[in-house]
């Protein structure tokens, strides 16, 4: 029988108004096909894929369009059938900013020709991992970390595979509805992952505000009748879905700073990733779509949609009924960790879990920033156990050593400190900027090291050249002495005479 656990919570965190019912009351809309696709060739980790299609080429759904740049890189596939219209630079959202990268633009047709078919699922781990890369499967939790790389834990000993269905961020419900409707597939995908890493059990972690998903996963686990699946109910508390927080809540162990969960024997995978892996094993379908929550008061018809990767956000929103009149701005991701978009002409990527359109009433009122009163609330809610009030001071003083000492790099930018701060200090924004600045300082010091080295090399080269010239001069001088001198002068005079005579 499936075992049930109720986990304690992790350190820090806050209870938030979840707002999930806005989108989770409907089933996943699976019939969305955009008129055009903008498929980025870039990956958040690893080298960009190399486009192998030509303009005007007709392609089928699931066909390979971007070849991996090296052995361990990821492939890119067409997510709908259609015709390539261009291969050009296009904006795409990448980790907190919008930047430009090479994209394949596809005009879709309604044929829905499918090119992929069920493939042989080999026994060998390495071959399996290669296949996962060729299917372009990345983690769907938001980080887009290559799944194969994460599952490649031969040298490290993985005890437990944790399937992350916590989905703690307000408004987002894509994992919730996926578990409700496809619990069996999710669990099967999880079992495949478990087999790959050699773990002894799967823990499926779901927050207690998703009773339907919990029930569905229970039933599916009962049907699969595996003793290895355990289900953990987590108290609803933001950010329970953070990898390190989830592990702390479920196992009571803390992932050390700067290390990965695998270092203490755990691997965390998003339920969506498990679903994608199962689709690949069962149907041969590469990762070409994902469930996206389109929600917020600014959307007419909020719901979860199965979106082909590369669909323009604008078309996705018109599929959901379009904007309400009082919409004020668009956020990619949830309202805690997401970031504002200035345009909706951007493709949905594998990291896009939610599109949130805020109207004026939901908008946070911009309040005046007051000085810190040292209440310490930020420190008590920080799930990474940092001291936000001191980090922000170190940031305003640009004290990089202090920033590192205070553990800035462990900040997960969850935004809990912002929520509780009575002085409305923009803490998380400062930390993001501080991280950027420290990174810049590091690259600058690397550059400077190199410059110094090259400068010294140049000095050595110049001095060597100078020595060579000096030596030549000295040799010439020593040759031009005494009798030698006279004969050399005569030779030179004769040579010049000959030349003159020739003319």
């Amino acid at each position: 029988m499936v075992k049930n656990h109720i986990a304690k919570s992790f350190t820090g965190g806050i209870k938030l108004n979840a707002n999930k019912n806005v989108s989770s009351s409907k089933t996943i809309a699976e019939q969305f096909i955009p008129s055009k696709l903008i498929i980025p060739m870039s990956h958040q980790f690893g080298p960009d894929a190399i486009p192998i299609v030509k303009v005007n080429q007709r392609i089928k759904k699931g066909e390979l369009i971007g070849e991996p740049a090296d052995k361990n890189a990821l492939a890119v596939h067409a997510s709908c059938s259609g015709q390539v219209t261009a291969i050009e630079q296009h904006q795409e959202p990448i980790v907190g900013e919008v930047s430009s990268s090479t994209c394949v633009i596809i005009q879709t047709n309604k044929d829905d020709d499918v090119s992929h078919q069920k493939k042989y699922w080999p026994r060998d781990t390495q071959t399996r991992l290669n296949l996962i890369n060729q299917a372009g499967i990345v983690g769907l939790g938001g980080g887009s970390f290559p799944t194969a790389e994460k599952l490649n834990s031969k040298s490290l000993n993985c005890e437990l595979l944790i399937l992350n269905g916590a989905e703690c961020e307000p408004f987002i419900s894509c994992d919730d509805v996926l578990m409700r409707e496809h619990a069996t597939e999710v669990l099967r995908g999880g079992m495949a992952m478990m087999e790959l890493v050699g773990a002894s059990a799967i823990l499926v972690c779901i927050e207690d505000d998703k009773p339907e998903a919990l029930n569905a996963v229970y039933d599916a686990a009962g049907q699969l009748n595996s003793k290895l699946i355990q289900i953990v109910t987590l108290p609803t508390r933001y950010p329970a879905g953070g990898e390190k927080q989830l592990i702390e809540a479920v196992t009571g162990k803390e992932v050390p700073s700067g290390e990965y969960p695998i270092n203490i024997g755990f691997i965390c995978q998003n339920v969506g990733t498990a679903y994608a892996l199962d689709r690949y094993i069962q149907l041969g379908e590469p990762q070409i779509n994902r469930v996206v929550t389109v929600t917020g008061q600014g959307i007419k018809n909020p719901q979860n949609v199965l979106v082909p990767i590369g669909s323009p956000i604008s078309e996705l929103i018109s599929f959901c009924g379009g904007y309400n009149d009082d919409v004020s701005h668009l956020i990619l991701g949830g309202n805690m960790m997401g970031y504002s978009l200035h345009t909706d002409e951007l493709p949905v990527t594998k990291a896009t879990n939610c599109i949130l359109a805020i109207n004026k009433s939901q908008e946070e009122k911009s309040t005046q920033i007051w000085p810190c009163i040292r209440c310490g609330d930020c420190a008590s809610v920080c799930p990474a156990k940092l001291l936000p009030q001191r980090i922000v001071k170190a940031y305003t003083n640009k004290n990089f050593n202090k920033l590192e000492e205070l553990g800035l790099k462990d900040c997960i930018e969850c935004g809990c400190c912002d929520v509780v701060c009575p002085s409305h200090i923009p803490l998380t924004a400062s930390f993001k900027n501080a991280k950027y600045l420290t990174e810049e300082a590091t690259t600058h010091s690397l550059l400077a090291n190199e410059a110094e080295m090259r400068h010294n090399l140049k000095k050595i080269r110049l001095s060597k050249e100078q020595m060579k010239v000096d030596r030549l001069h000295a040799e010439l001088k020593s040759n031009v002495r005494g009798d030698n001198r006279k004969s050399m002068i005569n030779d030179a005079v004769n040579r010049s005479r000959k030349l003159r005579n020739k003319k």
Binding site: L447, A448, A451, E452, H455, K458
Partner: protein, 165 residues
């Protein structure tokens, strides 16, 4: 009176001899200080301070032969750090206008370059390649944005662009 004078000068002379011996025994080098000062400088070797590179400037500072506000790329931030470390007075950087910047790289306009090779001689980090009478180019990964190549160019074909994009 005589005893007092004798005793005092006796003590003073003994101590002086001891100190002289100690000074000879504990001879020191300023190398470490120079190195520390150099790490506080931007180390992009732009030579705008008037010294041929960052280390010579650091040495001059350590020997108190140079002001600490001669480094335009470092800006006031660097002066502040140096002032803090050396216990000297802060003063704003001289000529901050043509400040070199690690966020920029030089770019040679390919149409205009006449292959005079003056820029590559000026480059402190050998980041410009090209032979005589042929087009030269900047290896942007190695370029420190020091601007030293800009003024030698006879046809004004070098400009500075942001490092990325």
């Amino acid at each position: 009176m005589a005893t007092a004078t004798l005793i005092l000068s006796g003590i003073a002379i003994t101590l002086a001899i001891l100190l002289m011996l100690a000074a000879r025994y504990f001879s020191s080098s300023t190398n470490e200080v120079v190195e520390k000062i150099e790490t506080l400088l931007p180390r992009i070797q732009c030579a705008q301070c008037g010294y041929p590179g960052c280390r010579p400037y650091a040495k001059a500072i350590a020997e108190e032969n140079a002001e600490i506000n001669l480094c335009p790329p470092g800006g006031d931030e660097t002066v502040r750090r140096l002032a803090n470390f050396l216990g000297r007075e802060f003063s704003p950087v001289t000529e901050p206008v043509k400040a070199a910047n690690l966020n920029t790289v030089a770019l040679i306009s390919e149409e205009l370059c006449i292959g005079c090779n003056l820029c590559s001689q000026a480059c402190p980090v050998d980041a410009i390649v090209g032979v005589h009478q042929r087009m030269h180019t900047v290896i942007s990964e190695h370029c420190t944005g020091c601007r030293l190549c800009v003024s030698p160019c006879p046809v004004d074909c070098i400009s500075l662009i942001p490092r990325h994009g």
